[in-house]
């Protein structure tokens, strides 16, 4: 009888001990899993921030390098071309006095070539550094960009905004939107075989939206991203947007063509006006 009682107690204690172990095991799995997830998340965040910093630095370097090239073009080649033009003007007067028609025609051709080169250098300088963007803002820069494109091609490009006075944004944000617009329009011209491009800029209290729509052949963004080289432009857009917490969405409108919408949180320019981006000054771009 006593043995039976002892057996009951032993069984009870053993079962309870086993149950306690089971409870501990379940709690341990839950706790350990949670901790490992937190650690993993922390590592991912560090990696993400590091990549973002790396990307930011790369884009900063790119802008600085663009400015340096623009500055060299303006200061060195630009100056030399202006001097050449002056010398040619003086020489032209001398040739004009001699009365030789052949010499005069060669002189005029040289003068027009130099003038054309000066114009090209100016255009390249402006393309490298969007001075209008820095001085007058995004809307004016986009309008200037469209104007130049329409001069050089038969494209019909329209631009509309939901506000007449687009408020100035942070330098980095404006430059990002401008570069994305450039990339999307260039992509449409290069790959979409389109005849019409619509650019729309919208702003509300929280977000800025940039929509570029074309009437070209359209594309599947996923397929393009999968192919290594072709998707570099789109990846570049996504990389730029990642730095300013923006997103991009591609659509295929029912009427054909393609549409890209980039959205970036509003970041108004701080009180002190940024130093204008200008090729005449040697300085680092703080984007």
């Amino acid at each position: 009888m006593q043995n039976s009682e002892e057996l009951k107690w032993a069984l009870l204690i053993a079962s309870l001990a086993m149950l306690a172990m089971a409870f501990c095991m379940i709690s341990f799995v839950m706790y350990y899993q949670k901790r490992r997830f937190e650690e993993e998340k922390r590592i991912n965040d560090i990696e993400k921030n590091y990549n973002r910093l790396l990307l930011d630095t790369a884009l900063n370097s790119e802008e600085t390098e663009r400015r340096r090239i623009a500055q060299d073009l303006h200061d060195d080649i630009g100056t030399m071309l202006s001097l050449t033009k002056l010398s040619l003007n003086q020489l032209s007067k001398l040739v004009g006095n001699s009365g030789d028609e052949k010499e005069e025609s060669i002189m005029k051709k040289s003068q027009s070539l130099v003038e054309e080169t000066i114009l090209h250098v100016r255009r390249i300088t402006r393309d490298l550094v969007p001075t209008t963007l820095e001085r007058f803002g995004l809307m004016e820069a986009i309008e200037e960009f469209i104007h130049k494109l329409e001069e050089d091609s038969n494209l019909v490009i329209s631009f509309q905004s939901n506000t007449e006075e687009f408020p100035r944004q942070g330098q980095k944000l404006e430059l990002t939107l401008y570069r994305i617009m450039q990339e999307l329009v260039n992509n449409a011209i290069k790959h979409a075989s389109c005849t019409k491009i619509d650019i729309a800029l919208e702003i509300d209290e929280e977000m800025i939206g940039l929509r570029v729509t074309d009437n070209g052949v359209g594309f599947d963004p996923e397929k393009i991203k999968e192919s290594n080289l072709a998707g570099l432009g789109l990846l570049g857009i996504e990389s730029r947007l990642a730095i300013v917490n923006g997103t991009v969405q591609y659509e295929q409108p029912a009427k054909g063509g393609s549409s890209a919408i980039a959205r970036i949180p509003v970041n108004p320019a701080s009180g002190n006006k940024p130093e204008p981006l200008h090729p005449f000054r040697r300085e680092r771009v703080n984007i």
């Binding site: 039976s4 899993q33 997830f37």
Partner: protein, 231 residues
Amino acid sequence: MFDTLSGYIINNPTFSIAVFITILPIALTIIRKAFLDQSLRLLFCYLVIKLIIDFVMLYYASARMNNLMFYNLSIPLFYALLGGMFYFKFNGQRQRRLLVVSILGFCVFSTWDIVNSNENLEDLKEHRIVLYAKTVEGILVISLILAYFYEIIKSLKIPNLLTFPFFWVCSGLLLYYSSLIFVAPVLHYAYTWKDPMELGMAESIPSIFETVCALLFSVGIYHYSPKDYAK
């Protein structure tokens, strides 16, 4: 018949609740369509078969008939169904092969144990519970659960365990088999027709945790969403 059965249910609430609580996860499986998942489909089969066997055993017990034959026969069947559940959860081919071997091996072992524990198989009145098979089943199921927990921790595929149905299923099984593992071999000696031995509280613990297990199954099935499993 009904009076005897209801009288037995009222006199043995712990055992009876453990039998009828199984209806809850079964109903939830149907409502939440949890049978769409392969593992939970096997769990559904397990629960339905368990309910039938338990009910038959309850009826036999109320009619003062030996019902241990059903208990013994259910052991390999339950292990096959629970093992099958894990078959779909393990990723490694080696683990799966081991699992299939363990199911087949256990079926042979439990058959041997039934024969070994009963000198005369035809004498159903004196039929006794197996000596080792239930404990071995417990060890095997606990090992499968621990192996699965290890895989969960290693793979880090489940962001929130509390909303993952199979985690609740494993937790329920772990508690139930932990409560049973020491009691099971003693039942062979305690549950005899001529001279039964009362085990007191130790006897009720597995039934209590059988109820807890069914409740945890229910929580898990409640968290099941066909949308998540379609991925």
